[in-house]
């Protein structure tokens, strides 16, 4: 359940911004979660809700923007989209892929009051 640690990390980041920007309440936390990242969105929502209790983010809604994974196929010599580690190249069906992006887990922005 590493989503618990990730949720605590989110609260730390949000509290840093609350101290800097002086907001009282967070309504929406907008997250970018890559298809190849190590996070399960449903578990993250569940953990975040309990970790956020009695903080500025209590009751905040998580809005997850899914980001596709991108890999380089050595056989096709081009970039292709992949949904998970171990997927075939959608072009040639091979596995000689080098993942280039799609493992990000970031807070993009906050909607605050």
């Amino acid at each position: 359940m590493h989503e618990m640690s990730l949720s605590r990390g989110m609260i730390d980041i949000i509290q840093d911004y609350a101290a800097k920007s002086g907001f009282r309440r967070v309504d929406v936390v907008r997250l970018e979660i890559g298809a190849l990242s190590c996070v399960e969105p449903a578990a993250l929502e569940f953990c975040f809700e309990s970790v956020a209790r009695d903080t500025v983010a209590d009751g905040a809604k998580l809005e997850i923007i899914n980001v596709a994974g991108e890999a380089w196929c050595w056989d096709c010599a081009r970039g292709v989209e992949v949904d998970r580690h171990g997927d075939r190249c959608p072009g040639c069906g091979g596995f000689r892929l080098k993942v280039r992006s799609g493992d990000a887990m970031r807070i993009k922005e906050l909607e605050v009051v």
Partner: protein, 275 residues
């Protein structure tokens, strides 16, 4: 009410009584601050692991400044991590400075096994935690003299999921799978095999008694991570261990060379590959 200047209508009640607000209107004075009931957007653009990654970078800086080769061993429980580690430190103890950080939810049984092999070790008990993070490693280093010019092994909590996400400052994650597990674990738990630079297939002495297709397992791992290196060995019989020791020594040499030439990273070290 604006909480910064107190203007506008107040909805705070004390003992059930509405508090009298400051009655001047917003238009009466200049506002250079935002009003609290207005929704605004704050751009953050920060990785959820930012804090862990800062601690990991600090650990890595300490390791490279002292030329320490750091290996983070990850696997499911029961793959033989501790047995491999005890055998490895016993074999290398006379040749290089070695230390071990052990991670488990409870008990110090593993670190006792390491210490009885004559090697210094620190046990981290994560309690309910399912993985080690870079901050815990920083604390463990307060109680451990870094093996300058040597090797630090970190044995992570037995868990094939969570430790994949957490950089500890190591040079390599090494994932161990034993032949008593399913050969399709790389496909079932791809994040870990994608994060690792090497896969060790352990307990090959048991191959005659179990249904495990080594070749297929390696093929699955390479699907997930085409660059993963593979070693096939048995920590009990000793088969294949020389290749593992050679890989560790090559990593250690590269770290020492990097320190002496003032480089800060030790990625993509050479090592034997057994398809």
């Amino acid at each position: 009410m604006c909480t910064t200047c107190g203007c506008g209508k107040d909805d705070i009640k004390i003992d059930g009584e509405q508090r009298a607000g400051d009655n001047h209107s917003h238009a009466e004075h200049r506002h250079d601050h935002q009003h609290s009931n207005e929704t605004r957007l704050i751009e953050v653009e920060q990785d959820l692991l930012a804090k862990n990654n800062r601690y990991a970078a600090e650990n890595r800086r300490r390791f490279s400044s002292q030329g320490v080769f750091v290996v983070n061993l990850v696997s499911s429980p029961g793959s033989g991590k501790t047995t491999l580690l005890v055998r490895t430190v016993s074999a290398l103890v006379g040749q290089a400075p070695i230390a071990v950080i052990e991670g488990d939810q409870q008990t110090s049984r593993d670190v006792e096994r390491i210490r009885s092999a004559g090697v210094p070790g620190v046990q981290i008990n994560t309690g309910k935690g399912c993985h080690l993070d870079a901050h815990m490693i920083g604390h463990a280093l307060e109680q451990l003299v870094l093996p300058e010019g040597g090797v630090l092994f970190i044995e992570n909590v037995g868990n094939l999921v969570c430790p994949a996400a957490f950089d500890l400052g190591e040079a390599h994650k090494v994932v161990i799978i034993s032949v008593t597990e399913g050969e399709d674990k790389p496909l079932k738990y791809p994040d870990m095999f994608a994060a690792a630079d090497m896969m060790i297939v352990n307990k090959v002495d048991l191959l005659p008694y179990v249904e495990f297709h080594t070749k297929r397992c390696v093929e699955y791992a390479k699907r997930v991570n085409p660059e993963i290196e593979v070693l096939i060995l048995s920590a009990t019989s000793g088969a294949g261990l020389d290749d593992w020791y050679a890989w560790v020594s090559a990593g250690r040499d590269a770290c020492l060379a990097a320190r002496d030439f003032g480089e800060t990273t030790t990625q993509h070290l050479p090592g034997p590959v057994h398809p």
